[in-house]
Symmetry: C2
Subunit: 457 residues, 2 copies
């Protein structure tokens, strides 16, 4: 059995690491729909986007035909600080489950930002620096994206202004402190530093903020400060492009050992991890070279794929950003308190939405306490304390492995373990103390929110 030769962890050598990102859109017959200008409802032009994003990133955002983008040497050097990330054979989990399935996971948590977000943060910061910009602005909710961007900017000597949702700023002082280590300025949002922030504060001085408001502030600062641009950690095509490094490394490692996954599973919030993990596999599927079962896992509290609508919608609750065609619950949808902050997004990447719409992947939703049960089960046998977001994928991977136990099938399962839960211990505490909510939105709530969708056609 060649099976026996597979190590617990597969690390590619530096020479084996991908030298180009893969642009999944190039192989899609039905391309994702373009972003629309929120004022004119016409497709955003390159010129319009240039004012918000760096030039090179706009190019990547709009290009749906070039299959590969070379990764600049400087980014590849940065990647070497924390990549290749290990592809882990979950021998211990398999044994604990007593399943004939072979489980693999690509672990993206071995860096200080604690997640895959760093893969795109360094790329976006690099292009900003390369364009001679002084700095970038962004928003952060749970703080993983803000941390990743701070690290990238600290490394390149680029100024980094993070608008952090006020309640997170106060409840997650540790995340804020990590960003300070890397030299970022972190402002609780809403803040008096912007017009939109002042307006909101005037209306409600005690507001705890929202992601939509933080986005509006970050965009305002970027577009009104010379030498600054706005950057975003998910949803966008450019982000999925950079995150393809996850899937490319996974595929190289699996190919090396002659392993082919039957099922690929990833958690889905805005889609950055899932889009990156599945990229080269979906590419083969699109080109008719191979077939894979691909499953997106979302929280039952925020079920964009499984209960949302495929339509044009605003990317932000503030309705200042472009519209994207995507599976959405409506930009006014407010998910119930869920500890997987990275998955509390009303919409979904346009690329993944199109693929799902075309029947090329599945989606499923899982309840919060089930997710934490799976997380703890995983932690005890595989050692790693997973992030709540990542644990959505763990839950479904375990379910699929248990199905194999029933049927006796030796399926190969690959899932994305996006990050660690070191900053999510209040959530684990709530789980241990039986204080975790499993609230699922009613049909009425979702219908109400979807009733507010903008009229586009």
């Amino acid at each position: 059995m060649s099976e026996m030769k597979i190590p617990y962890k597969i690390y590619l050598s530096e020479d084996e690491m991908p030298k180009a990102w893969y642009n999944l859109r190039a192989d899609m017959k039905n391309k994702p729909a373009p972003l629309l200008n929120p004022g004119t409802l016409q497709p955003m032009t390159r010129e319009e986007l240039d004012g918000v994003f760096c030039d090179e990133l706009v190019k990547q955002e709009l290009d749906d035909t070039t299959p590969y983008f070379e990764i600049p040497q400087e980014i590849r050097d940065f990647y070497k600080m924390y990549r290749p990330s290990p592809l882990v054979r979950a021998y211990c989990l398999e044994a604990a489950l007593g399943t004939p399935a072979k489980i693999y996971y690509k672990f993206e948590g071995n860096n200080t930002s604690g997640s895959h977000k760093l893969n795109s943060a360094i790329a976006q910061a690099y292009y900003a620096k390369n364009q001679g910009l002084k700095g970038v602005t962004t928003e952060t909710g749970a703080g993983q994206w803000g941390t990743a961007l701070s690290m990238a900017c600290g490394y390149l000597g680029l100024d980094c202004k993070v608008y952090m949702v006020k309640c997170s700023y106060e409840q997650k002082p540790f995340r804020r402190e990590v960003m300070r280590v890397y030299g970022a300025s972190v402002t609780p949002s809403p803040s008096p530093t912007t017009a939109v922030g002042r307006k909101i504060l005037e209306k409600d001085p005690n507001t705890t903020g929202s992601l939509g408001c933080a986005i509006s502030e970050a965009v305002e600062v970027a577009t009104s400060t010379p030498g600054y641009r706005y950057v975003l950690g998910s949803v966008l095509n450019q982000v999925l492009l950079h995150q393809s490094i996850i899937g490319l490394e996974s595929k190289i490692a699996m190919d090396k050992y002659g392993v082919k996954p039957d099922i690929i599973i990833g958690c889905a919030g805005g889609g950055s991890n899932l889009g990156g993990l599945i990229a080269p596999f979906m590419g083969e599927k699109l080109r008719g070279e191979a077939d894979y079962r691909i499953i997106a896992v979302e929280p039952a509290s925020c079920p964009s794929f499984t209960r949302g609508k495929f339509a044009y919608d605003f990317c932000d609750t503030g309705m200042v950003c472009p519209l994207a065609k995507m599976y959405t619950l409506g930009s006014g949808f407010i998910p119930s308190a869920n500890h997987a902050g990275g998955l509390r997004y009303h919409g979904m990447s346009s690329t993944l939405s199109q693929l799902y719409h075309d029947g090329l992947m599945e989606a499923t939703s899982v309840k919060q306490t089930d997710v934490f049960e799976a997380a703890e089960r995983f932690a005890r046998v595989e050692g790693i304390l997973p992030a709540p977001e990542s644990s959505h994928a763990i839950k479904v991977a375990i379910d699929e492995a248990l199905k194999c136990k029933e049927t006796g099938e030796e399926k190969t399962i690959l899932f994305g373990l996006t990050g660690t839960g070191y900053f999510d211990l209040y959530a684990y505490e709530a789980f241990h103390d039986g204080k975790m909510s499993d609230y699922i939105p009613t049909d009425e709530e979702i219908a109400r929110s979807l009733g507010q969708l903008p009229q586009v056609d």
Copy 2:
């Protein structure tokens, strides 16, 4: 230049991982002095120790002639979940410092316990399980050791009772929560669950606890509960033996690339990391096969090596544990509040103490704010957010690299990066806010504490 071929991170393959721990004492001419029974002041016998520790661990503790102990297959399998740990070439730090020195660090933080402690925790838990015991007890201050032991016990299905110093229990709820994920029971100490705890609480119901008291409680429970033993994360010979995996992996990786360190640097609290890191290198030095400059780094607030006395002393403040001959500040010494909790120990491993006494290694102490300055400098270029303990080694590595910059010498520096600082962000906050103390004990304070040393000869 073969130099150019060295990757950023060197990972050994599973086949290259050490299959035996190295027992440094076997090569020492002057053996470390034996532990003494606190009652009789006679060397502790195997029988006396058997009541406290597992049989196999007592054997390892007392054996100062066998050079290698085979690592059981089950432990090697567990090691594969998070080892080999990377040996990192600090290219980015070198460039930032503009030094001709070549800097390497062995990074032990890529596991959920966040430090090297897991290397010994799994070994101690394994031998307890193998002896048919039901569980183990221990104390934890900052929480790294308790977390590591919880992970090991959770994996083996062994009960784990952790006595956590009450102020840490309250101030570090996250650490406590991680231990709960792994199924450990965590009790704030002093507690009403033990005789010694009740006695202390009766005297002072509002006490915030101490490590000495937590040790006393853990030992009481271990020795009075059938099927339980006590385990300890540092200081002991057995712990240094298990931690030799750090140095052995480092040496195999360096030998593979034809690299020989000139200077080896490690932080020193009880000595578990330093003793493990230097083991095979010190072995060569003892056997006259090679020479290395070896530097122990301790906090100026708790300077056992640099300002302590080489004498028999109690290992715990409660004076219930055996006496060890070591560099000590006196078991009654209370270090000023220092954020490197893992280095706040009055004594030092007997083995390292003997080596230092025999002039085979150097020691230096560094101030807290200098340590955090070095930590932040490191984090910004190397990405990793270091633990305050580890940052003591970073500080001296940077100093040595800067000396090379002055002299133009191309020295090779190896240091131990023991762990990550994800649970130390209050410390980073104090540093950023200028609220960090640099208190150094006065000569009078140290003399007063040393005046209380037990009379042994």
